[in-house]
């Protein structure tokens, strides 16, 4: 089995993705420990994706933080330069408040509105693909037919859209026009052209 189930992806989307910005902010404070924030976030997702079941997780936010915390501890154990003071920098307390912030509550409440906003914020070419694929439920092939573009272009725009979403979540769900505007321009890593 490659990848994760739709159920697990949905669980992560609801319960972890919205806390990712806070997790990154906390990890960034530990930057002095020699942690690559992206690495820890990716490994955290890998662990959460590989769990046999998430039914018992009552507080996914805490669980994600604790997972990241244990990853950093493992990292510190492996590196030989850890001093006692440095290890004590790694306080998990404070990062874990079980009561979500008022912003978080507001954000959760407006979840569908957030979905709408996230879609609205996508660059035009990406947005038209996502509207057909995700709002109207067409397949990529049908989307390509409807727009009169190649399936390769649709696939590429889906990838661009996902990157834009990831950037938005990493930033805390705020409108992030800055990093999205330039999606229209060819990206340096893209090999195939439209």
């Amino acid at each position: 089995m490659v990848g994760i189930t739709q159920d697990r992806a949905a669980w992560l989307a609801r319960n972890v993705l919205p806390h990712e910005a806070a997790l990154r902010a906390w990890l960034r404070q530990k930057y002095a420990l020699g942690i690559e924030v992206d690495d820890v976030v990716q490994e955290t997702y890998a662990i959460l994706a590989a769990l046999a079941s998430v039914d018992q997780i009552r507080n996914p936010r805490s669980y994600a933080f604790q997972t990241a915390h244990s990853l950093i501890l493992a990292h510190l154990r492996r590196s030989k330069i850890v001093s006692i003071r440095r290890a004590s920098d790694l306080e998990l307390q404070g990062a874990l408040s079980d009561t979500p912030s008022p912003e978080q509550v507001a954000q959760d409440r407006d979840e569908l509105e957030n979905v709408a906003r996230v879609l609205s914020d996508l660059p035009a070419k990406v947005r038209e693909v996502f509207l057909l694929r995700r709002v109207h439920g067409l397949s990529q092939r049908e989307t390509a037919e409807r727009l009169g573009i190649s399936e390769n272009s649709v696939e590429k725009r889906v990838s661009q859209g996902i990157r834009a979403l990831l950037a938005t979540f990493g930033r805390g769900g705020k409108r992030g026009a800055k990093s999205l505007e330039d999606e229209e321009a060819p990206r340096r890593r893209d090999k195939d052209s439209e």
């Binding site: 990848g3 949905a10 569908l112 834009a164 990831l166």
Partner: protein, 348 residues
Amino acid sequence: MSQSSDTPDDLTGNPIDASGADWVARLDRGALNAAEAERLSAWLAADVRHQGALARAQSAFAYLDRARALGAHFTGEAFAEAPMWAPPVPTALPAPSRRALLAGGAAVAASVAGAAVFGPGLYDRLFPKTPAQVYLSKKGEVKLVSLTDESTLTLNTHSRVDVDYTGDRRSVELREGEVMFSVAKDQERPLSVVAGDLEVRAVGTSFMVRNIEGRPPEVLVQEGMVDVVYRTQPSSLVRAAANTRVTAHGIGVGARLTKAAVSAATVARETAWRQGMIAFEGVSLATAAAEFSRYSETRIVIDDAAIATTTITGLFEADNPAGFSHAVAGSLGLKVETGPGFVRLYAE
């Protein structure tokens, strides 16, 4: 949460995250060929961070699972001036219903796991004279059924349909509940849906049929054109286009059908249950409570008539009456009491 954009981790530039997004886009397109599958497996095996990046990109894509609830009229433009919905409720949907209703979008899982080996299609081929196939949904469940002709039925909570495709027409009987039909075009074999005394005939279109005890049977056309007829009165036939509601009034000889135009937004709202959601626009709390009782054993109790007649607007998770009650209490300044099998809304 107050990060500046010059933070040490470049959120868009991480090459592993970019590859994860590429793979999810590829998986969403359709099944991988052997070479691609091998490449993905090798990539995942190479580094645990790759597995995490794939999971993360998949969850970002899954975040948009709810986008269908926005409805076909959503364009994504001028959104700031026109907020769509009042408070949705933040809690998880149970796995089964989501899995069922997301089956269409589950290309990621399905393309990798391989096609289902046994379905109604094979069954029909093995047993061509089979009587009607019965599909049921439990309370609180939304179930997607794919038929052999690529038509799909989405059963709302507590519904039952009998499907008989053996004759020269495609026959479906809605015994109880509410079902959205998306009919594959076939001029030779029209599809007919019987719901009580109503019959709906379609060639290729999408529409919803309701047959709920205590309410008049109803047809809501989303796309295309259907004919609706009172089975006992062939002259009652009406032809209904998209965004039309046909309602049956009365029974027996005096029965008649009425036809009314509705907005696309209304159609979207009334079919929001397909995403596990209930949408209300200006309905009383009493009506909303009754609607929730179709989906959940937990009753919403409102003793105070003044509260019961208060109207609300919003999009809510169908299987979460408690979450709904808390959201309503929060915005109307009410209190919530939770007990075994009920949630009570009251004023202080």
